[in-house]
Structure formats: C-alpha cells, structure tokens
Symmetry: C3
Subunit: 679 residues, 3 copies
C-alpha cells in the first residue's frame, strides 16, 4: 500500500448519507471524475459504530470501504476518538473535559475529551481494536488516522492527579519542584503534593515554572493519548502506518516529540487566501513555512490531510479561492514536500456547523461547477506529477523552532505583554531566505545541525545548556549561525541566567547585551548601515543594546538614546561565523540581509537563474518548482531558453532547465456553465 503515488481525495463522511443510497453511489462515480484515489473515513462515526454501549455496527462501514476500493479509491481509516457518542458522556461524565475555571463541560463539540479518563481510554482502545481487527487487512486501508486535530487541555481531578504524578516523576521531591518553580516568590511554596493545581484564572498564574510545566504535561498527555491509540492498533496490526492530522502554527504540544511517534506527518491547511492584509505571495509564504515545518518534523514527505477546494466556514470572512488558486496552492504543497492534496470534505454536509465549508461536491450535486472542475484539474495534475512522489528536499538553511520557547514567551510577564511575535520573528528570517531562492528546514534546538551550511536562531529566549553547547559546537566546526534579539536569557525552567547574555554565546557572538529596550507598537528606531551590502533601515518591537567584545558592526542604531551601538554584528568563532540581529527589521530588509549572510556563508544557490518578484522556487529531488504568485505572466530564464509562465502558474523543471510540467490557467466565467476542465 505504499507505492509512490500522490494521494488525492479528502474526508468522506458517508454516515451522514446512509439513508440516501443514491448519493453514496453517486459519490464513487464523481470520485472517479475528480481523479480521487484516497479518502479518510470514520473520523466522526462513533455514534454509528457503537450506537449503544457495547453494541457495534461496522457493516455499513465495510460496505463503504468495499465500494470505494471497487472503484479504485483507497482509505485512510480514522479512529473515532475525536468525538464520542452522547450516551457515553451521559453515563460517564468523566470523559468530558473540565476547563481552567474548573467547570465541567456539557456534551457537545469535539476534540474535547479528558486526556486522562480511564473509562475513555478503555472505550477508545476497545473501539480501535475492533476497527483494526475488522478492517486492518483490507487492501484499501493505506494509513490509520488517529483521532482528529488533537488540541486542548483538561483540568479535572483525574488530570490534576496525573499532573502531580508527572511532576513527582520529573522532580522526585517537592524541594526540587519548589526550587525549579521559584516558589519562594510571593510565599507560594508547596508543602504537600496535593497543593499542586494546574494554572487557573481563579488561582495560580504567577509561577512561570508551573505554567511551563503544565504545557509540557499537556503536551506529554496529548502525545501519550496518541501513542495509546497507536499501540492499541499495533497490537492487532504490527505493520499499521499511523498518523494524526496536525494544525498550522498550533503549539498545544511539542510537535518534535509527537512526530517521533508518527509514521508519517499529516496536517490541515487553511490559509486565508485573498485577505486584505497581505498579498497572495505573502499568504503563500506563511503557508510554505508550515509545510516546511511539517516536512522537517520527520525529514521526509508528508500528507496534506485537509484543505478546502473553495472556502471555509469558520474564518471571519470565508472567502472562496479565486479561479486558479486551488491549483496554485495545491502545487505549493507539493513543492514544499507534500505527497498528497486532500480536502475537508468530499461532499458538503446538509446540516450543522460546517455545511457552508466548501466541499468537492456541493449541494447542487453537480460535476460541472467551478469547484468540482478545479478539483478534478488538480487530480489530473497530481497524476501527471506522480514522479514527484517520495522526492526529498535539499538541506540549505535551517531555523531552530522550539515549542518550549514559544510556551515561555506566551507565559512571560514583560518586556512586551502586547506581544513579542516569536512566529513573526521566524517568518521574517524564513521569508528573507526564500526570497533569495534557498530551501529552509526547521530543527529542534538540540537537533543535528551539521548538515546545514546556515542555521538561524530566532528569539530563543529559553536555552538549556545542551542547546548552548550544540550551537557552540556547530560554529566551532565551521557552521554559520544567526542569532536574533531576546535570546539566551533563561534556562529550561525560565529562570534568568546569572551572567552576561546571550548566555553562553557572548564569546561566540563577540558581544554582550547590556540592556533590552521594548518599543511600543508603531515605534521605530533608525539604523544606519556600516557596509555597502546593507541599506539603512529601522528596528521595532524590541532592541537589544549590545556592547562589542570582538564582533564587527554591520549596522548600527542611529536614533534613540542608544544611537551608535550595534544593531547587526558579525563575528568569527572557531571555524565558523556568527551574526547577531539585535532588533526586528522591516520584512523586506531580510532579503538583503540574507543575500549578504548567504554569500558570506558560501552557501550555493541550487537554481542559478534570476528569480522575478513574486516567484517562489522550491526543490524536490532533482526537480525545481517555479510558482508565479503574480496575477500576470512572467518570463523565466531556465538555462534552456525563456519560459513564459502565466499568472498564478506553476512550472516543474529539472535542474538543467528541462520542463517537466506547466500548469494551465483556469477559465472564468465558465462557458455556458460548463468549462472545459479536462481537455
């Protein structure tokens, strides 16, 4: 079941149509028209699979899977643990979550079960194993889709007890916990384990150590739940390939740790295309950034598990994709490392919360409308691009991404409670590198940096000793490192390092930070270039004020009281070089900055030709993706002549310029309501 193909399909909820057999029959016909080869089933089917406690009905699902497979459609089989039946919540209220105010939920929603509840775990395990036994060997089953979009936390008594056990295992003694959490502050010293409670707006919120450990515990709990389900299936099916669908910039658990338990990464991508705050290219970069995170998680291709062929239903304004954007954004996923394009959902629901969310098949049940035809065109393109399947990406630049650091910046009091922008900081470096045509991976702070010519450390406030050593070793051995402001301040328990900062890196960077000046939103500090390579610019958000201890100044502050102090520096250390970017610069400045840094790093570009404005370059194996995010055509030099690429067009080339694929524009309005989708 692991042949190198590109999956096309999406969430399929036939349980909503069991009383409409003609619809189920139409589904498989339309799937073939849309070149669908894979759908996800069973995600929210529990109430149908176990209508009464211990009464199971899997036959309907069996029929669905058989019919799909008979029409060449494989399945990604979900465990239904994301939502439980009403009878279960009524009989066992412990399966329902308790919020931070200690209020027990009523039945409703989804992805909201207690992560500890033994009853829930028993029910889930039993259900998963019944599914595994019945369908595990079915040839249609490609992957197991464990639960759905894990997120959130529970503060019930069972979870409090579990939290305390987790802390006992971590710290051994209350003394150690008190020290780690610095509980002498405000006399919050714990003298009995039973005093420990999760953070609450009604209680403790002032101990960053607790806030941080709570997020670590919730992360552990969530991953443990995933592992619990995976292992239940593995007991029956030792070879089962398991995944769970991750979400965008979501930080509810440590994705590096979750990824280790997953066989393949998958995620759900819902960018706000055509929003008034950014260009389509900017939206594309925000999206590529996340694709690249999830590619990096296992250093191999991932699944785009959900996307919409048109609009969502939950954004402030759920604007549909304009004609051609579905193709462009789907091929962006491919370009960044996806081996699938899948949707929520195949057919729009008739009722309830998500019925306005675009599906491949709409309430008109027709195959001749724009959404269906654009989807079918993507299906066709995926067939044409099968040669991409399984291809890996080159290693050039890497950005350190640390969930612990995100959590602690969220929990922090000061210096900017209106926002420090950890993601934004990462995005600026990422965009700068991508605008220079480089591929960007992400790494955990203690990851192996050795394969990357260039490593970026954006706003890494929290650094443990091993991370510091990892960065030092990397530069010592010839690596090129960029560190940005508000880094190296605290240790792994969010206790301030006692000594100069960035702690442990001052010799490496050739400077120490003497103070950090938080700026108001909209406030800017002028910066003047000290080299020909950089232009004058401005700093914002916060300014580290460095005192040089050996580094060279590339850019300096030229307003505010610290005018004359360095804003960007460069320092040789061991066999390598380290840069320090002391404030947040305007987004376009990072293009210039990384032009300089990449050149000084000696990092070669793979695509040697000029890249016009608005064109993004990506690499998979020997192939180069060129995507034109402008609405108008551009001329591309390819080494084998000039390629005219239409607005919102994609070309896939070999590195020598040989063209393997070029997309076609999608017509609108459709002629007589029936556009020529597959010519």
């Amino acid at each position: 079941m692991n042949e190198p193909i590109l999956l096309h399909g999406g969430d399929y909820n036939p349980e909503q149509w069991l009383d409409h057999p003609e619809v189920l029959e139409q589904d498989v016909q339309l799937m073939q028209k849309a070149h669908v080869n894979s759908v996800s089933v069973g995600i929210f089917s529990w109430a149908k699979l176990e209508p009464e406690e211990n009464v199971y009905d899997l036959d309907w699902l069996g029929e669905i899977i058989d019919r799909l497979w008979a029409h060449g459609v494989g399945v990604i089989l979900a465990t239904p643990s994301g939502a439980r039946p009403n009878w279960m919540a009524q009989r066992y209220p412990e399966v329902l979550r308790v919020n931070a105010k200690r209020e027990r939920s009523l039945f409703g929603g989804r992805e909201n079960h207690c992560l500890t509840s033994p009853v829930y775990r028993d029910k889930v395990r039993k259900m998963d194993q019944i599914l595994a036994k019945r369908f595990g060997k079915h040839p249609a089953v490609r992957y197991w889709h464990i639960s759905n979009e894990f997120n959130g936390e529970c503060h019930c008594p069972l979870c409090q007890a579990s939290f305390r056990q987790w802390l006992q295992a971590k710290y051994g003694s209350l003394e150690a916990l008190n020290e780690a959490w610095y509980t002498t502050f405000w006399s919050h010293t714990y003298t009995d384990w039973s005093q420990v409670e999760s953070p609450s707006p009604l209680g403790e919120s002032g101990l960053q150590g607790l806030l941080l450990d709570w997020r670590r515990f919730v992360s552990w709990q969530t991953i443990d739940f995933y592992r619990f389900e995976r292992d239940a299936i593995r007991e029956i099916l030792p070879e089962a390939l398991c995944t769970t669908n991750l979400m965008d910039h979501f930080d509810g658990f440590d994705h590096w740790a979750m990824a280790k338990e997953m066989d393949i990464i998958s995620w759900d991508s819902y960018p706000e295309w055509h929003n008034p705050r950014e260009t389509e290219e900017q939206t594309a970069l925000r999206t590529a950034f996340v694709h690249d995170i999830y590619y990096s998680m296992k250093d191999k291709p991932f699944l785009l598990m959900e996307s919409t062929p048109s609009n969502t239903n939950w954004q402030a304004v759920s604007r549909p994709k304009e004609p051609g954007m579905h193709m462009l954004s789907s091929l962006l996923a491919l370009a960044e490392g996806a081996d699938s394009v899948m949707y929520f959902q195949w057919r729009r629901s008739r009722g309830a919360m998500e019925k306005i969310h675009g599906g491949v098949v709409g309430p008109d049940c027709q195959a001749d409308n724009r959404v269906f035809l654009e989807t079918a065109a993507v299906g066709k393109a995926l067939q044409d691009l099968t040669f991409i399947a399984g291809e890996k990406r080159p290693k050039q630049a890497a950005i350190i991404l640390d969930y612990n650091n995100k959590w602690v910046l969220d929990a922090s009091q000061g210096p900017r409670n209106c926002g420090l922008g950890y993601w934004e900081e990462m995005h600026r470096h990422y965009d700068g590198l991508r605008h220079n045509g480089y591929s960007v991976d992400f790494l955990p702070p203690k990851g192996d940096l050795s394969a990357y010519p260039l490593v970026i450390v954006p706003m890494l406030y929290l650094m443990d000793d091993a991370t510091i050593q990892n960065l030092r070793d990397y530069v010592q051995n010839g690596g090129h490192l960029v560190v940005s402001a508000w880094s190296g301040i605290a240790d792994e328990q969010d206790q301030l390092r006692q000594g100069d900062t960035p702690y442990g890196l001052t010799d490496l960077l050739g400077l120490r930070v003497t103070e950090t000046v938080a700026l108001w939103d909209g406030e800017q500090v002028s910066c003047t270039s000290c080299t020909e390579d950089l232009s004058d610019t401005e700093g914002a958000i916060l300014c580290d004020v460095p005192a040089l201890e050996g580094a060279e100044t590339l850019l300096q502050y030229s307003s505010a009281f610290f005018a004359g102090t360095p804003a960007i520096t460069k320092n040789r250390f061991g066999k390598g070089t380290a840069w320090f970017a002391a404030t947040r610069f305007p987004a376009p400045f990072y293009k210039t900055l990384y032009q300089t840094i990449c050149r000084d790093s000696g990092m070669a570009a793979i695509w040697q030709h000029p890249i016009p404005e608005g064109v993004l370059v990506s690499y998979r194996g020997p192939y180069v993706f060129l995507q034109n995010w402008n609405r108008t055509a551009v001329s591309l030099e390819t080494g084998k002549g000039t390629l005219e690429l239409h607005g919102w067009g994609t070309a896939v080339l070999e590195q020598d310029g040989a063209v393997r694929y070029v997309s076609e524009p999608f017509p609108f309005p459709l002629t007589a309501g029936k556009p020529a989708a597959e010519k």
Copy 2:
C-alpha cells in the same frame, strides 16, 4: 374606552412617592398642564401590592387611579410580573433565571424570571386576577399592559424539561429530531430524550438545528407567558384589551406570532438622536422602519408606549433631544401609524438606575423648563391632530421579515462570521422606497402578498416550501418581486437545499447562483450599469455570482474574477416580474434602483409632488405627513401653492394639498427662563 383619541402620557410610578403626598397632588396638576390624558401604572409595583406573601394592598393604587380619573387621565394598567418581590425570590429560588452557563441568578434586575416556573405562574395569575377584579371595571382603565419588555431566556432544569416536551410534541420521535438537527455530524446523535440540553458555551453549539429550535422554543415560551397572563385577566374580564410593550429591532421572539395574541401593538422607541454616525434623517428612517414593522404586525395603528422627552440614561452617550426634535420625532410616530405619544417616565425617580433618564417632570419639579414645555406642546399638537386617530396606511410596497431567518443567520457559521447584516439589508431597501415617497409595510414570509404591488425579499436564506410557493403564486399572478443575495439556501431546519439556488425560484428569477463570494469589510466590487436608468456603483459584503437562465441583466460586476456576470437582473414570470439584486450596494443607490423598479411595477405615487432632499412623506387615511428633517426651511409644492416648512417642521395635508396642520418651531434659549409654550 376606545374613542378615537390620541393618547399622551407615560409610565407613572407613584409608588416611589407615596410618602410625598404633595408630589402626587402636584402630578395631576402638571399632567393637565401637559395635556396628558393617559398614564401607565403598576409596572413595577409588586412589592407594594403584595408586601408579604398573600398579603395584598391595592388601596393606594385605587386612590391613585381615582385621582387620575378625576383629573381626566385614563390609565393603562400593568401586571407587575416584570419584576418580583425580594421575598418571593428568597422563598422560591426557582423563579430566578439560570443562564446558558447554568448559573442561577441572584435576586436583582427585571424581566428575568424563569418562563416555566409553576410557582411563578401561580403567583402571577393570582396577582393579575386580583388586579382585574379590583380595577377591571374602573372607567379609567383603557388597556392592560402585560408585564414589561419581555426578553431573554432561562436554562434551568424546569425549562430543560419544558424544552424536551416541546421537542417531543414537534418531532414525535428522537429519530425525527436527529434527522432534523443532522446529528450524525460529529457523532452528536441523541439516543435518549434526557440527553437534549439547551445550547451552552459549556456544551452544544455546533448544531444549527438545535440553536434554531431553541430560539423557537424560547419564542413560544415567551408568547405562552404573555398568553397565560392575558388569559388570567380575560377569565375575569372577557373584554379586556391587552398589549405588551415591544422593543425596537429586538428579535428574542417571533413578533408575528406574538402579535396574534395582542389586541393592540405597543412599543418603546429610543433612537439615538443627534449621534455622530448618521444624520437626523437617517435616524428617523431607522425609527420609521420599526414603527412600520409594528404597524404591519396587526395592519392597524399601534401605541408608542415609551419614548423619552429628552435623554435616556443607558446609551453610551445619552444625548438629550435638541429643541424641536421632541415634536418632530413624536409626529413621526403619528405619521407612521401610532395613535399615542407616551414616555418613560412621567416624573424622574430620585434614586436608582434610571434617575438620569429624562422624565416629563424633572428634579426641579417645575413646569417652566424646556423638557416640560416641549412635552406640553406635543400634548397640544396631539389634541389638534385628533382627526388622525385610527386612520390606516395605504398598501404599496411590502418587505418580507422573518424572525426564523434572523435567528438562523445569527447562528450560522459562514460565509461571514463578522456579520451578514440582515437588518441592514432590509434597511437599504426600505430607505430606497421611502426616498421615492412610497409607504412600506412588512409581512411574514407566508403572509398574504396580494394587496401589494411590490414585494421585497431581502436575504431570505431560510425558505420553507410554503414560502417558496407563496412567492411563486404572487409573481405568477402579476406581482412584482425583488429578491436579494444569499436567499433560498436552506430549508426550515437550516439544512441546505440540494439543488440550484435560490431554491425553487430559479425559473422565477431566470438565473441560478453558481457561487457566493464573501467579501472583507471595506472590500468592494465595481458594478457597471447596462441600462440608462441605473448608474455605476459597487457591491460589498457578499456577492452572489449568477448564471443567467433567461433573465435580463440591468447591472453587471466589472471587477473581481466574476467581472461580466450579472449583479442585478430582471425576469418576466407568469404575469409578473422578478428582480434579483446579487450583492449589497451603497445606500444611495437604492433610491435610483427603486425609482426604476417602482416605475416598471406601475406602482403609482400617492403624493405626486417633488419631494425635496431630507423631507419624508407618510400617509394615514386621506392625510399626508410631510416632515422636514433638515435644520433649515424648505419650500414644498402642494398642488395648492407653495408651503414654506421650517427646519424640523411637520405639515399635515390632505391629498389635494389642503393644509390641516403645521408645527411651530420651538424657541431657544427660553426668554427669561419661560418660553411661550402655548401661545
């Protein structure tokens, strides 16, 4: 007691002054000065009427009513159920509401009793009948004022049980409920009636069917409570005329259903005059819109039950009416169909929440200040205009108003969660018609349309089959229909119609909507006119993209990807004509649009003379109201010469131009503190 007079007066709370007999005596003297002929009493008197459980004291109220009647002042007698005594809440906590988070209220506020509580119903019934027996035959009593400004909902166990009973009666079986609410979604299937709970932020909020039925249930409950009180009185007084005071654009229950139970409609009107967001004319149109809704509810004159002679106390800024506005706005009510001008409240309270709210008599207790004198001038004008009492309005255009549709748009997820603007859509059509001098009524979706030359269907997302048939029959038989965007999408359970939309109307409109593009706030799509009658304009909020199936294009989109598709169409169907307005246009455009549509509808104007900017025309019986909402005078052609109408002035004419009444401007500053109110 139903002689054709115009009532003038307001809420009178003498229980606040029982220990100040001289004040009570002054009251009736001042009422005569102010030409007051009717006051509402007893609204919040329960604590005085039943100071201890089962101990009643009605004598003080008897004295008040006698004294009023002796001075020529009738009463609207209220049941005191809007607020209950402290002792009752203490002894029977079930009378207090429980909110959606399942928190029981403490005692406080008003209009906040449990709508189910048997104890409360018993107490209310007993009280109402005691009042009816004591005062029902008193010659002063004109109407019964049931409770006060019904609103809100209760989630207590008694109401949950009542909700389940209501659902059982509606659906018969859980299977039917599951199907109607589409509970297969997220495995939310109910397997026992006891699992059904009202919507809650702690529980279910994803089933639109539940959300919609909950609002229907609350509507039923509220109306049932009104009916329960009305019937308690009717048992004693079969001829009693009952009303309850409604509120502005309030949508907490289905007013069409409530209206059926009421003998006369009354409402409380508190426009924000002189606010910085709109001109006084715009405020007037917002207010006239609501007057017209309440006139339409029973197709007959209504009571303006509350208004303020100066300022409120509860708006963000409670700006007082400027000199002359009280006359102008009071006569607006008359022009639109009111047979009264009444106030909250006669005399300002000394203490508590509403003491800053303007009353006719202020804390200076004088009759020589601006508020008193303007009120007296209105009282005099009402006497002069007695000939208006009981006159009905002509039937020209009608707008379909559906509370179910409002509820479901509120509950919707997508396409614009930041607001679809159902009221705003209605207002634009209304204003366009009024700016052309037409009278506008409102009708429920299954109402009798036959009397109206023109019917507007603004954003009627939810349409049941009977509504569709009603609209089809209307046009088939020669009616003129305007349908606007996002109509005909869902059925009465908010399930998407499977087929082309506007469902059931595609042949009538000569088009089908191929997709709907939600726009961001501030985003606009250009539109180009295809006829001489319309000018180029812009669309906003959302754009239906139609494919023509026979209709004629009057205006087309000229930007965005759907440029070239129709934005306004016209189609002949049966003996009638149907227009489709596919997006939301700027407010002024609707004046032009309805100039065209009304002309094509052959709908004759009643007032044939030019209407200057800022002048509103209204009709009652043979009379025409001309109100000048400009601060400066205008010249009006009347057919019998030219009438110079002062700024903020009102003229009442016969249709041939004969002048029956012209208001006088109110002087300011008052000369020596004593303006000449009644010359």
Copy 3:
C-alpha cells in the same frame, strides 16, 4: 529612628537567595556602593517565617537584619499578610476570596485574602506580634510596612454577613435602608436583612445606593484590616510607626479615611515614561498629581515606597527609563514632598512573574551597568539633598478630591456611560495651576479650606449638606472657588436633589443649570470669549447649560442649540468669588484660565521669574525645585543671574535664587562599559 534623612533603597527579598549566601554577602557590599540606607524586608516571607502551622523560623530574617544594620542599612519591616502560605489556604479555605460571581478562588496570587475571615485575622495577628516581639526593638527598624498594596473585595458568606452588620449599624432599620437605596424602584424592596447581597453580575446591579454602600463597606473593611494589623503591632510596640504602600490613582478605599490611621503615607509609583500618548512633561504632571495627593493626605512628607530604576514587567510595553530619567523622576518625587526614593526591587528574582521587572542589581550581578550606576547617582544626590528632608510645601491652591464621588460616578447610569472622566477633570485643573507655577494640594470635601486662597471643585456630582455648607462658608469668608460641570446633582446616597442645581450653590454661583448636554467622544462645542483674558476655545464631554441669576459671563457657547448661554461665569458672593466652568475645555486652555483666576484671586506666585515651556516648579520649605522636562537645555532667570539647566536637569534653589543643587546629565553609551558614575 526619625532623623531627618532621605531614604534610599527598596524591597529586598533575601528569602529568595538563602541558598546563595555569597549573593547575600554581595548584596550589602553593593548597597553601600549604591548609597542605600534602607530596605523593606519580609513582605512575602510568610512561607519562610511559618513553614508549617505554628512552626516559626525567624532566625534567617534576624541574620539578614543584623547584617544590613552592620552595613548601615535600616529596614522597613513588613507584615507578610499580603500573601499566605499554601498550607494555610489548604487547611482553611475561608482565607481565600470569593469573587462577585460567588466563585471561591484557588490558591494563588497575592493581596487576595478574605477581609473578614476570623481564621485569617488570628493567623495574621499571631504572626505580626511574633515579628514585633522579635524585631520591634532592633535599631535597624525604621517603619512597619503593613501588608502590601491593599486592594480588592471578597463576596464570601462571611463578608456578606459582615456587610449586613455594617448596614444594620448604619441604617438601624430595613425601612431606612429601603429609603436610602430607593428600593421601590423595580420592586426591589428588602423585607428581611438576609435578602441583602453584595452587588453581582448575577444579581443586583441597579441600585446605586447599594453599589455605593458596598464600596463604602469594602473601604471600611480594608481600613479595618490595616487597623487590625497596626493595633496588633502597637500592643507590643506602642511607639511603632506604621504605613502601608498605596497605589497611584487607585480608588478601592477612601484614602482620606485610611490616611488617618497611618503614621506616614507611602506609595508605589510606576509611570509609563516615554509612552507614545504623551510627552515626558505630561507623564511627569500625572505623576506629580499623585505625589501631591499623597502629600496632602497627612499634609506632610511621604515615602516613595516603590518605583523602578528601569522598567516594569506588567505594562503593555515595559519600556525602560532612558538615561537621566531615573534621576529626573526621582527628584520629581522629592520636589513634590517625598522623603525617600525606593524601589521594587533591590535584586531581580531569578524566576516567576516579576523577574523581568527592573531591579537595582540585575542577573549580571554587576555594579558597572547603566541601571546600577544611575541608581547609585540618585543615592548620591539624595545625600547631597539631605537638607530637603522633612521640609513642607506651601499652601496655595487646593482641589477637592472625594472618593465617594468617584465611586458614584463609576456606578452611574448616564449621562455618559462611555466615561465622565473624574480624574481627567481634576488633572486639567491641576495642570493649569502647575503651568502657572502654583503649588496644588488636595482636600476632602469637608476639609478645612481656610488656609487656601483658591479651592477647585471639579465635577462634584455628589455633595452632602455639610460639604455645601463648607463651600458656602469658605466663599462667604473671602475664599475663591471654582466649580465645574455636573456638580451638586445628588446627595450622599446618590439621590437627586429636588431643586435647582448645583444644589445649594446657585446663589453662590449666581446661576442655575437648566440642562446638561452629554456629547459624543470627539464632539465639540465652540466657545467665544467675552473678556480679553480668555481666548476662544471648545467644550467637550458634557455641557451644563446655565441660566444666569446674577453671575457675569466670561466665556459663552457659540455653537449647538445653546449657543449664547454661558460657558464660564464669575460671581461675587459674601467676601469671596466663585467661578463656574460649565464644560470640559482643551488642556492648554486651563493655563490661561488659571492665569486669570489666580490673578483675580490675588494669589501671589512664590517663584516670580518666567517659567520656560516644559519646566516645572515645586516648593519645599524655603527651596524651589526647577525641573527641565525638555530634552534640551533651557536658560532660567533666577534673580541672581541666569542658570543654564541641561535637558532633563533639576536645580534646587533658595527662593532668592541661590543655587543649592544642580544635577548632572548621565552619559550614554557608557565609555568602555564603565561610565564615570561618581566623579
């Protein structure tokens, strides 16, 4: 221990460093370098002082105090009642607060104990007396610091019972309470004391009398708690000098009443220096205003108990003070009446919520950084300025400040629920006086006005009879009084005065207010001057519309419907004069207005020389402080020549111009990281 010195130091939390003895040793060394002579200890030490119930450990604190004293550092000894140990909350949940929604807190935070709990009072009393016995006679102990930043309220059953007792004592009977609270409104009459509940979003919020008495009760409770602790200490140490640290514009209790119980006032000052909404001079005036309130509380010098040498951690943006601002703002405190400059905190915590808050010693533990050096420079300046210690301020203008009035304006419904701006109104008068070089005190409404040539009554909506008499007597006897809009409306129970307003002052002002027009934010009414002294200007927020009864018009409205009525008037009454300012003018207008009023009052300026823009003048005893809030130097005429004062510089002179002290600018960047702090 009361020698006339200026204290320098701050909060010292050695309990956080007991396992780092070398740090404790370094502390006293660094304190000497920073010229620290006093620190506050024990504020949050309870968990260390009583690690288990009834097990006390005071030895560590004894060692700290001994070591401090041995190095010349005195202590302000705190009672630890601001935060309690975890074990206590676990064993006695009654010590934890209940919020207005009746939710009991979990353990966490600080300044959040039940103010009634007998258990807590017992524990606190025992702890305080143990501290008093052990350390009361220690020569190091200067003051007792009772608890910390008292604030907030508790709605638990114990507090409800206490509230009812307090009301019974105040009113004697339920009848009197019902009358005072005007409970006939909405039938809220109480028929049993047990029905009385504190205000709640779930219950009563419509009775302003209740809202007001609840705030009075909480004020009484808070002060009672302070008194309870003070008396516990006094039992052991009859001579103990007690204080508690107050906060900025905080209005949680009546500070006039609290001040009577305190031996010396102290407060914590955290202005947002360098914020984008105002100039540094404006921030300085906001700060001086509060300094002056706290000076006025006991008409004698106070302690600046907390401030930051750099940045906070809790503001939206915790921007550090720029070089020189620490000196300037510290000397501002001195100029306004402080006898100390103290900080939170001496050494930054390693962990928990406040670790980013600037401390004198930072995580680099060095004495050569900017913060330490600026602090040391302030320490040195305080030594040089010891002659200021104990000096009092002159009496010129006084502003009436009434917490009851603040509470009732907060609780009010109308005329502007988006804000009346009581503090803002006071600030405008204050700034106008300060810009003319006058010293401004604050007085309670029934305070002794006789020493002041000029008294301002800003927006005193609530006036009891004694206040009215106090103001009348003052003017009668020759005083000069300024009253502003929305004054004299209600009595002490927030019941509207029945009669003309400002009630009891119409003859004194020579006018009555006929109406009050609330304006929208941004709305302005033009005003035209009727004298040469004033310029044309605008009114905003709300406009009283007066009818003259003898007063002279200085400025009149020239737009809106009340154009031509007076906006500023002047009236002779008895031997004095009264002005009325009927609306809120732009801030700069008050400078001109008070130029006129002060001249007409015959109030002589102390500093007779021209005051350049941006320079503030303050007086202590025979000394004049001149502070230059401009970033550039100014030339000052002193009577003994011209003094060039650097940007952000402070000069202290004698009244004849003799220079006693001039600050020096602080260099930046520090040369080689080591600025010359003490030359």
